[in-house]
Symmetry: C2
Subunit: 221 residues, 2 copies
């Protein structure tokens, strides 16, 4: 049985959970607060980030390393397309969200509203929040553009690109900050992903001390 | 023929160049300054990062996507180990350098000393530099620890983990900021990588307006 050390406000944790559910894997979760990591976590992963994947003595960290490992070892249900060029497009989008979206949106919104509150007891800086919300509009435009042209974000089929993007958006959506109304195609795409059985557990997630936005778990939002 | 749009102070560009040389690929370089990207670059890669890989009309960005694509399509010379668990360790270390080292060292040292100077004409902030140099010691300890226990960073064989780590260190070394003396095993490992033919071009790199450190190109440093 797989144990995933994770946190509901970590998009990388959500990504791996959704991927494992898609692959019908059994796993249990153990929460660690990113702003208050235990010494045990650092023993498992000296980089000090989430999630950490444990399976029968095998320990793996780094959400990209975990994703590729799952794809290589759990091959009945594939979440990567057939050809190298198509896979390249999936990985390009994964990097987009794990690096660019993370730096431009997550750090300015989630770190301000959640990490800062629980690690330092401070209120968010409204200037930083505003930058994050502004950046989010740019990313929503890009998702909308992709969703208008393609069946799923990276092409014809559902892939790790959709999982990664939805994992990131779902944390911002928990906080009620996604401006769905301006982005019809992005909204349609997200409602497709949200309806998948693999997303069910994500919609039950709770961040201690912060209620989810009203529409967070609604399939019809 | 492959065209790589890149810059000598981008570790991700260096990584792909070294990997392509290891694989005996032919390629030409086109420089773009990261602090002054052209509109053409944004047309190729809306994320606005380097490098961008072009091959006969196929355009790919995201250094991880490019690396996996090279590994999947240029298979005579492999830079990934045999088993999924070994590959996972390679990818874990790649993430370590591309995310953690980048955030904790590159941004505090290279962005301060190079990007800031050319984009804003400003001198580096000594407080930020000090944080970067401090963080670098932690990373050197980790490289030293790995190099003491393993033949190469991720295990028995040379891999993309060595390429990525050396690419990142080489930019810092250009600026003369790597404290080699305290880290014997790390130094031995780096001199092994530095001696490879694939590294030759990296050692000829020049960042406009900044001379390399005296020992930068020395194989015996």
């Amino acid at each position: 049985m797989v144990l995933l050390v994770q946190h509901p406000c970590s998009p990388q944790s959500r990504k791996i959970r959704i991927g494992m559910s898609e692959k019908k894997m059994l796993f249990v979760l153990k929460d660690e607060e990113p702003w208050n990591l235990s010494t045990d976590l650092f023993k498992l992963n000296p980089a000090g980030d989430l999630p950490v994947f444990l399976n029968d003595g095998f320990v793996l960290s780094g959400s990209n390393a975990i994703m590729e490992y799952l794809e290589e070892t759990s091959r009945e249900i594939r979440l990567m397309p057939e050809t190298p060029r198509e896979r390249a497009e999936v990985r390009r989008l994964i990097e987009w969200f794990d690096e660019k979206f993370n730096r431009e949106v997550y750090r300015n919104i989630v770190c301000e509203k959640v990490h800062k509150r629980f690690s330092k007891g401070l209120a968010p800086d409204s200037k930083i929040l505003k930058i994050g919300l502004n950046n989010l509009n740019f990313h929503m435009e890009y998702i909308d553009w992709l969703a208008e042209r393609r069946n799923f974000l990276a092409g014809e089929n559902f892939s790790w690109a959709d999982i990664t993007a939805a994992a990131h958006l779902s944390v911002i959506d928990y906080l009620g900050d996604v401006p769905w109304e301006g982005y019809k195609n992005a909204k349609l795409w997200y409602s497709k992903i949200k309806s998948r059985p693999s997303f069910k557990d994500i919609l039950k997630d709770g961040i201690r001390g912060i209620l989810p936005s009203k529409h967070y778990a609604d399939l019809d939002f």
